[in-house]
């Protein structure tokens, strides 16, 4: 490295030093600190006491931990595929030439702009067993709707329905990718007599597969960290029979309400490992099916 290059490097580093400092102080240090605290009995105010792997072992025998994990994973397994499917289908529909297309695009994207707290408050009323608009609609077609938020069988489906309502963000990403698919591919498929759905299957999906993959990974991360909606709608106890106690809610309660910060740190690491494993599995299983134009 010449003197000039070194100087340029130093100037460059100086320019990004606020970001580097921020990363080290606000991200790296807390992450490393939680690793240490996860092996301690830590109640925030008092000094941490080293207890080895007790926090991790305790999770194995904590039924509430397992229930929160079950709730979160079962929600994710339903919400992620449905979210991907709906965001893709809506994007495909909104990519068609039709009157008022931009208005429809705005309408479908709007729910993604609503703050999570407001979303939770709105849906509390939508799902209301007696006065909710959803049950009113069901009644019009002769169906006696359930008590969505009080009956433990319907708490997680309620949250899945809410997540589908908010697919606007993923939809916009899909829509942007759809507009990049070369037109000539569809033209040649049409000449070969391919139907609309065959074009979707053989051209659209492969061509926007990197974006679908991105939405999948983001879906995994967001679903496993779901916090605001269940916390507001079902409180820290997690609703009827804890059927809506999500992992992040239980983690938060341990950290800030029960004073079990060490246990909460251990839970955070377990969640991190679960996300890493699920992301790795998703990457591995989709590797051969993703098409990158440059490769």
């Amino acid at each position: 490295m010449t003197r000039g290059e070194r100087r340029t490097l130093l100037i460059g580093l100086a320019f990004i030093s606020p970001w580097i400092m921020g990363l080290l102080l606000m991200n790296l240090y807390p992450v490393l600190a939680t690793m240490y605290y996860s092996f301690t009995d830590y109640v925030v105010m008092a000094r941490p006491i080293w207890i080895g792997t007790l926090n991790y072992r305790e999770m194995g025998t904590d039924p509430v931990f397992w229930q929160s994990l079950y709730n979160t994973v079962s929600y994710a397994l339903i919400a992620i595929p449905l979210g991907l499917l709906f965001s893709f289908l809506i994007a495909v529909m909104l990519n068609q030439a039709m009157i008022g297309r931009s208005v429809f695009r705005t309408i479908f994207f709007l729910p993604a702009m609503v703050p999570f707290v407001a979303v939770a408050m709105i849906w509390l009323w939508v799902f209301h067993g007696q006065f909710g608009i959803l049950n009113y609609g069901l009644q019009l077609i002769g169906v006696d709707g359930p008590n969505w938020l009080v009956d433990e069988r319907y708490t997680k489906p309620s949250l899945v329905i809410m997540s589908i309502w908010s697919v606007g963000g993923a939809m916009v990403i899909c829509l942007a990718a759809l507009q990049d698919v070369p037109r000539q591919l569809y033209e040649s498929a049409e000449l070969d007599g391919a139907s609309f759905w065959r074009q979707v299957w053989h051209i659209t999906i492969p061509m926007i597969s990197p974006v679908l993959y991105f939405n999948l990974i983001m879906g995994i991360i967001i679903s496993l960290q779901l916090f605001i909606q269940p916390y507001i709608m079902f409180g820290p106890e997690g609703g009827p029979n804890r059927s809506a106690l999500f992992y992040a809610v239980y983690l938060y309660e341990n950290a800030f309400s029960y004073g079990n910060m060490g246990y909460a740190c251990a839970m955070a690491w377990v969640l991190f490992m679960i996300i890493v494993i699920m992301t790795w599995l998703a990457t591995r299983s989709t590797r051969k099916r993703i098409y990158y134009a440059g490769e």
Partner: protein, 490 residues
């Protein structure tokens, strides 16, 4: 030549720009490092030289205004200290973070149930030496409120505004049901007998739709539970804020001492069997349907104010909501009936807002002067009348009750002074214990499990947690006790 001149000018400007850039960069780095590494400057005195006491309080609205008036009086009463009150939401969590960060306020308004948890974590300043010097003793207070501020033999707080709970009943509905409107139930058995007369249901009998009291249903109709509940006499989960502690009215203790959980005591089992009696008698589906139609607490649709429920357990603050949303309601207040009037008279739950000095406060002595001022008779009465509560002090002015807007304030005061006054167990794991009990109550009410199964599960789980907390306490106890006893206000 022109090229050379151009190059010289270019180099000149380049060098100047380079210098400017370096100067800016250096200035930026200095500011960045300074702001990253140093705490923001917080003035400790006002511009006119008075000690600045920062006071965090949770109250807003008329309760906040009442406290602000007392703060203003204190600031006017002397010229050495100035108290600056700031309203802070979720104060129990934010205060903990502020203490950890080394920048706590000088005074904070917490709840009495925070005292033991904060104290045990070393987050508060012990007040014993302050109290000795000021000559403040237990005799100055209603005993239970002094107890709420004590933990492990040390005093950590002084009360600000206390509260007790009582039965509120709707006299008009009593009259309508043929009951004496001035005679509330005195035992759980009486409560349930009245409940059946006050509860109104809609039923189809012989092809005719009718609205009748539950007590007029036939045995077969009761068993079929094919009715719609229109009004309830009483519901244990409305509003359900104290559902983990219903056992107090049956003689239960939720903990034998600071190391032993007693969720599965016979008395507590009896309490939760009473709770499960409701869905058994009135039908789970009917009660859920009825419960889902009840409005928010602080609204005219409140179940009690809207005459949907005739009897409720509520605190001294309920008067504020009656006054605002149902000023014409005819209502009475009495001790909530226990299972046995002779054995368990005047049972109530008491709690209190308290003032504490966080550990690390800049001006603990000045902070205590303010707390001491609030705990004098006149400022305290101004505060509690403003907040429509009652005084925690043993002595009140002669006309306190006449001046108080709540016509039933005396009942709340008597309940707080009675031998039946109980409070949340002073356990470090109480938050977790309470949440577990709420979940257990929901499972019991939904008839998924028996009270014994639900409460055993709570006891096992919380006892394990408590054992761990006590193990930690045993490790640090001697150090903590020495630290606290050596603290001197001087």
């Amino acid at each position: 030549m022109v090229m050379m001149l151009h190059r010289l000018v270019y180099l000149h400007y380049y060098t100047a720009l380079n210098r400017l850039f370096r100067a800016l960069l250096a200035a930026f780095l200095v500011v960045f490092i300074w702001t990253a590494g140093c705490a923001p400057h917080r003035p400790t005195h006002t511009e006119d030289g008075r000690i600045l006491v920062r006071y965090w309080e949770k109250w807003t609205g008329f309760e906040g205004a009442a406290m602000q008036a007392v703060v203003d009086d204190f600031n006017r009463s002397q010229d050495r200290i100035f108290v600056d009150m700031l309203t802070v939401s979720e104060i129990d969590q934010k205060l903990m973070l502020a203490i950890m960060g080394g920048h706590p306020p000088d005074v904070a308004g917490l709840w009495s149930h925070n005292v033991n948890v904060y104290a045990e974590r070393g987050a508060l300043t012990p007040l014993d030496s302050f109290l000795d010097r000021a000559g403040i003793t237990q005799d100055d207070y209603i005993p239970v409120f002094w107890d709420l501020c004590e933990h492990r033999g040390f005093m950590w707080a002084l009360p600000s505004t206390p509260a007790s709970l009582a039965l509120h009943w709707n006299k008009r509905l009593f009259r309508e049901a043929g009951l004496d409107p001035d005679r509330p139930p005195r035992s759980i058995a009486e409560l349930e007998a009245m409940n059946e007369r006050l509860t109104t249901v809609r039923i189809v009998r012989d092809g005719e739709r009718m609205e009748i009291p539950f007590s007029e249903l036939t045995e077969a109709e009761r068993e079929a539970q094919a009715f719609t509940v229109l009004r309830m006499g009483h519901l244990p989960d409305e509003p359900g804020w104290w559902i983990p502690m219903w056992g107090f009215w049956f003689g239960a203790d939720l903990a034998a001492d600071d190391r032993t959980i007693t969720a599965v005591s016979p008395e507590n089992l009896e309490a939760f069997e009473w709770i499960q009696m409701y869905p058994r008698t009135y039908g789970l589906h009917n009660l859920r349907r009825f419960g889902s139609a009840l409005g928010a607490f602080a609204s005219p649709q409140n179940a009690f104010l809207d005459e949907q429920v005739a009897m409720i357990l509520q605190g001294v603050w309920m008067f504020n909501f009656i006054d605002r949303y149902a000023p014409h309601m005819e209502w009475g207040v009495a001790a909530f009936p226990s299972v046995d009037l002779d054995r368990l008279p005047d049972v109530t739950i008491v709690e209190s807002d308290v003032l504490v000095i966080p550990n690390g406060a800049t001006h603990p002595k000045a902070a205590f002067e303010f707390i001491q001022y609030v705990n004098q008779r006149d400022p305290m009465e101004k505060l509690v009348i403003g907040q429509r509560k009652f005084s925690p002090l043993a002595e009140t002015s002669d006309d306190f009750i006449e001046r108080h807007p709540n016509p039933h304030i005396e009942t709340f005061m008597e309940l707080a002074q009675s031998s039946g006054a109980r409070y949340e167990p002073r356990l470090s794991v109480w938050n977790e214990y309470r949440d577990e009990m709420v979940v257990a109550a929901e499972r019991i009410f939904s008839m998924r499990v028996t009270p014994e199964e639900a409460l055993s599960s709570v006891e096992d789980r919380i006892q394990r947690r408590l054992d761990r907390v006590m193990h930690r306490w045993d490790l640090i106890r001697d150090e903590r006790l020495r630290e606290w006893s050596e603290y001197d206000a001087r």
